[in-house]
Symmetry: C2
Subunit: 376 residues, 2 copies
């Protein structure tokens, strides 16, 4: 039997590193980008196609899945992997972030949060213990501690109070996880650093998590409106305090240039809705920057999005056809463009891994920024 | 260079036959089912996936394509095959049927029909000459004569008048087609039998088309509300008068049992919106009859739609997951179910071809009806 969780760094370039997380369901090459499989489906993609883009792991959302079809239903049907036919690793978030952004009538107390479903108004409750239990029912490989994502902007006092609550919840998450022998023997648990944009709070949060001990450490509460510069500054503050031998996960990030900046600062894992959501609204990511296929300038353009891209949208179809599909509201438009964007994100991660291996990351990053800002 | 158009019958069983149409872009095994690629996309399917289902030919709709993106645009972009990346044969309808069913403010005269686009209200005109020209601009392999699809029910006088107009238009279509050397040297032209439910009119229409001469003969004006029994009766009336050496195409049909009944009566080609449209609304076709995946009885069913089916929906996913995808309005539901339904239709056609080859069609049809009406 394969070991439960191992992180090996194969090469470093500055503080950036490339390597792999090994788990029972497969290897996750790092730096890794995790496509969003929010509601038990990477939207507009078959799981076989997600695999073809190069993804080693996807993310599932506890909040969505607990509401529909329900964690008990998924467990009874054999777990999330079997349910959605994705047999490689899955990371699930704890639900905390989406309770705050999607649910109605939220009420937070020391023990947890009560809220109403945005789908049917039904009442639900999440606590650290319940969030860990749900992630166990889903069968997640990487389980996230339950936290409160501090809203932005927050005063230092608000940020401290919120962070300290998250740290108490992190300890309860750890205990709940360890108390379930099946889950603790098979899955990994990550803690989440909070502290908004206050370096001192980020330090104290990191120290609190290290005291508890986790398989990996996520940086949360960023990409919530603070801007790229402030986000990268918080990584400069936070990452050096994180252990060298554990993966670091920047939650909810980001645009391609955010990923490059964060990898340069030692981040190993990312998730973001951008490639899939943009794919459904007509935005394509390319090495020469993003382009909007709904724009009339593409309507007679026989070139593909990117002649060097290996995805089915670029191999088979012109910008003119993709432009037309979005104008005609044909489902094939979102299908092809999601595939393209996920391919671009995976190819970007592969290029970053390669640059770190060759110790040419800073040149790669400089060249990437130059081309990316040129416009497609 | 391959010949322009050849139809070879390899085996017969009663009046049913199996064989192949050979054209420059490929061979069409008959009896054939043509998926609808209405607006330059088989909805929710990549062209590679349509090919995997076993389709040899798809249908494009002149009405939709002339309105958006426009026949001239598609021609400038290299034709419909290249535009949508489907390189096998395409049959295009003439637009007449959909002008009557979709367009606004239609005005019919001896020369043609003027109408307003259902998309943006813009004014357009179709005549036999223009319909043939558009199909040439699209690059269709099989071109349909421009006709008026007689509405149902129609009095015998109305049906006669409408049929006679269609026959005058059939002659004009033939002349327009032959006048374009490129089109006439590469594509095939089919005439369309009209005459509503009046045997005498069907005979006169058939005789008129035979007098003009076409590569193939379509039976039009059926599946418009007359019911299966009346439809099959009209085939009994019409098909025996059609030449043995030309393919016979029953337009807009149909349900699986309609296809079996029509093949038994000598039909070689079909098109229908049913497998693709039903796939988007949760209805799956199976050998044991249709089933609605939105039905609550599927919500905990770990079985696939059909364990014997070779499609990705059946290989990878449970009825419970498909049920969930439709409930959650995930795009993957229509994607998977469309693929399943098109696979079922192609497998049904393959089974019909096989039964004709073995001269066991009547046993096959009887067994099919027995299983199909049993319920899934």
């Amino acid at each position: 039997m394969t070991e439960r969780f191992a992180f090996e760094v194969a090469a470093r370039d500055g503080v950036a590193r490339t390597g792999a997380i090994r788990m029972q369901r497969g290897e996750i090459r790092t730096p890794a980008f995790m496509p969003l499989g929010t509601a038990a489906s990477v939207k507009a993609m078959r799981p076989e196609s997600v695999l073809e883009t190069g993804a080693d792991i996807i993310l599932g959302n506890t909040y969505h899945l607990m509401l529909r079809p329900g964690a008990e239903r998924i467990q009874a049907l054999g777990g999330l992997h079997r349910f959605m036919n994705w047999l490689k690793p899955i990371l699930t978030d704890s639900g905390g972030f989406q309770v705050m952004s999607l649910a109605k009538l939220r009420k937070l107390d020391e023990d947890g949060v009560t809220f109403q479903s945005h789908i049917d108004g039904s009442r639900h409750r999440l606590t650290p213990e319940r969030a860990i239990e749900i992630q166990g029912q889903l069968g997640a490989d990487i389980v996230m501690a339950f936290d409160e994502c501090t809203s932005y902007p927050a005063s230092e006092a608000e940020a401290r109070e919120s962070m300290e609550l998250s740290m108490r919840w992190a300890l309860r998450s750890r205990r709940a996880f360890d108390a379930n022998a099946e889950q603790a023997g098979r899955a990994a648990l990550f803690g989440i650093v909070q502290g908004s944009t206050y370096p001192e709070l980020r330090h104290r949060s990191t120290d609190a998590l290290l005291e508890i001990g986790f398989d990996g450490y996520a940086v949360g509460g960023l990409a919530v409106g603070e801007g790229q510069e402030e986000m990268l500054r918080m990584l400069d503050v936070t990452v050096p305090r994180l252990p060298e031998d554990a993966p670091r996960y920047l939650m909810g990030v980001g645009k391609p240039d955010d990923l490059v900046g964060a990898v340069l600062r030692g981040i190993d894992m990312f998730d973001c809705v951008l490639p899939t959501r943009s794919g459904r609204t007509g935005q394509a990511f390319t090495w020469a920057g993003p382009l909007n296929l709904k724009n009339a300038r593409h309507k007679e353009d026989t070139a593909p999005i990117d002649p060097a891209c290996r995805c089915p949208a670029c191999i088979g179809h012109s910008r003119a056809y993709l432009h037309y599909l979005f104008k005609a509201d044909e489902m094939l438009g979102p299908m092809l463009l999601t595939w393209h964007n996920l391919t671009f994100y995976q190819d970007l991660m592969a290029a970053l891994r390669d640059a770190i291996s060759r110790r040419t990351l800073s040149e790669f990053a400089e060249e990437f920024r130059r081309r990316y800002s040129n416009g497609a």
